[in-house]
Amino acid sequence: MLEINDLHVAVGGKEILKGLSLSIAAGEVHAIMGPNGSGKSTLSYVLAGREGYEITSGSIRYRGEDLAAMAPEERAAKGLFLAMQYPVEIPGVTTMNFVKTALNAQRRARGDKEIDALGVLRLVREKAKALHISEEMLKRALNVGFSGGEKKRLEILQMALFEPTLAILDETDSGLDIDALKVVADGVNALRSPERAMLVITHYQRLLNYIVPDRVHVLSAGRIIKEGGKELAHELEAKGYAQIVKDAA
């Protein structure tokens, strides 16, 4: 589904990813862990197509296509979704209106029929309920004044609505209380299927108790330095990054 090969990425003229390779097959869940500043969010932004993230060499193929050649909205329409570490606040756009616009834009791009306002409302209500997102929140401006946890839950609500083929979660667990963590994990697990894949970026092994990964990768200084099964997350928690980096060197 996703094949990243020897990827080098520069931001503001500085190389951040330095030869990263990673491949995820349909049906799999992969986790990326790594110290602050190692390039995890950079990778997620490159995959989503943010401007200013320059691929200097290497390649990314998504469902057999060259991902770098696609505009961000095209990637979304083709099933790629990034739950951001820091969701953006947009005053003047209500959450509900945004969700409706985005959902229908994706459907239009795929040649599916748009869903009318009432239909979207019904759909959103149903998914919001499972995530404990109130009606009142949906009426407010997008992410404006939302707590850290509320922003994260809204990201997951969007994931549930868009039903992406490849979901990337960038520290969605940070800032969530224990109950919210379970709710979010349930949302993620509900989407697991043989056709979909997920890339979960996290600092905490705790999330991986709920979303059990097939593979765990350790990212350090722009490269994957170690890979393993779900037990690698436990090892990281026990030893810390410094030791793992040293072992790998």
Partner: protein, 343 residues
């Protein structure tokens, strides 16, 4: 030889709107008297201008209009009555309009400034005790037209003036308001949006005088400029000596869409009283790239995302329009203009 000297950029107040550059003095001098189509409903009476006009303060061009127009429109609404009026210019030129809303009366005034060519109109508006005027002005895009509207608005005790100005640009468009809050409890709430592209220009200049205490005013203006257009908002607030307990709030924001567009915001305070509340803020920025990326990453195409963000930028200013139907009308014009700008 023409004796008429048009306001130009050397005059402080016309710095960003050089009329001399936009039109020949001869064309101003030879312009005919403007004619209107007027639709009224409710208790509004329409008659020729009276011999004696109220003494309101006008700007330079307002004085010219008042001197040159040989006839005009007089709308009057009696004590405690209600009504609506729709004004549309059918022949451009110098024009004069008098609007009197008597004590406790309520008028909704809609004005369409959709003309080409040259128009220069002086408005005198008088609001009696507890009178109310809701005023909406929509000025369509006409990049060949030169249009100047100069309003003198006087408010007695407890009177309220609410106005919204939607301007889509002209070769030169100047909307100038001189508002005098002359009675205690009088209030003026002004808002507006300028959505400009191409070579469009729109200048809204407001001067609110809190002549007595316990008066209130707000100004909320949002400007978007793309292409080689220029948007201007100048907002002066004067609080007279002894006008204690006055409250005035002004916000002006600009959104620049390109390197060749320009937005000039000029707030100005002149406060001679001690106990007043005045707050003002002005800022010009670009479309936020992070917001744009967020929307696009959720599948919203770039042009649609830009339009959505621009609409969001204008949201609070348009929301000031109280009447739902009129607000929806203004939105549909704004959205059409935004679609052109973000295409």
């Amino acid at each position: 030889m023409s004796a008429l000297v048009l306001p130009n950029r050397r005059v402080e107040d016309w710095k960003y709107s050089d009329l001399r550059n936009a039109i020949e003095p001869a064309a101003v001098e030879s312009a005919p008297t403007a004619e209107w189509r007027v639709d009224v409903s409710g208790a509004v009476e329409q008659s020729p201008l009276p011999e004696i006009m109220p003494h309101g303060r006008h700007g330079e061009m307002g004085v010219v209009a008042a001197a040159r127009a040989t006839s005009g429109v007089f709308l009057h609404i009696g004590k405690g009555e209600r009504g609506t009026a729709h004004l549309e210019l059918v022949t451009a030129g110098h024009g004069r309009t008098l609007i009197v809303v008597e004590d406790g009366a309520m008028l909704t005034l809609r004005e369409a400034a959709a003309f080409g060519d040259f128009a220069n109109i002086a408005f005198d508006v008088v609001l009696g005790v507890n009178a109310q005027l809701d005023h909406i002005r929509e000025a369509a895009a006409h990049n060949d037209a030169v249009r100047v509207s100069d309003y003198s608005i006087r408010l007695a005790q407890g009177a309220a003036y609410r106005a919204h100005f939607a301007d889509f640009g002209a070769k030169l468009s100047r909307t100038e308001l001189h508002i005098a809050l002359e009675g205690e409890g009088a209030e003026a709430h002004l808002s507006g949006v300028s959505v400009l592209g191409d070579t469009g220009h729109a200048d809204v200049t407001t001067h609110i005088t809190h002549a007595v205490g316990n008066t209130q005013s707000t100004q909320l203006f949002k400007l978007i400029a793309g292409g080689k257009s220029r948007g201007v908002y100048q907002g002066k607030i004067s609080v007279a000596e002894g006008a204690n307990g006055s409250d005035s709030r002004q916000t002006a924001k600009g959104l620049l869409l390109g390197e060749r567009a320009e937005i000039d915001l000029k707030p100005e305070l002149e406060i001679l009283a001690d106990d007043v509340q005045c707050a003002h803020g002005a800022a010009v920025g670009d479309l936020d790239p992070e917001s744009l990326f967020y929307l696009r990453s959720r599948g919203v195409p770039e042009s649609e995302a830009r339009a959505l963000l621009m609409r969001a930028f204008l949201e609070d200013a348009v929301a000031e329009i109280a009447d739902e139907t009129i607000r929806a009308d203004v939105w549909s014009r704004v959205e059409a203009a935004l679609a052109e700008l973000s295409a």
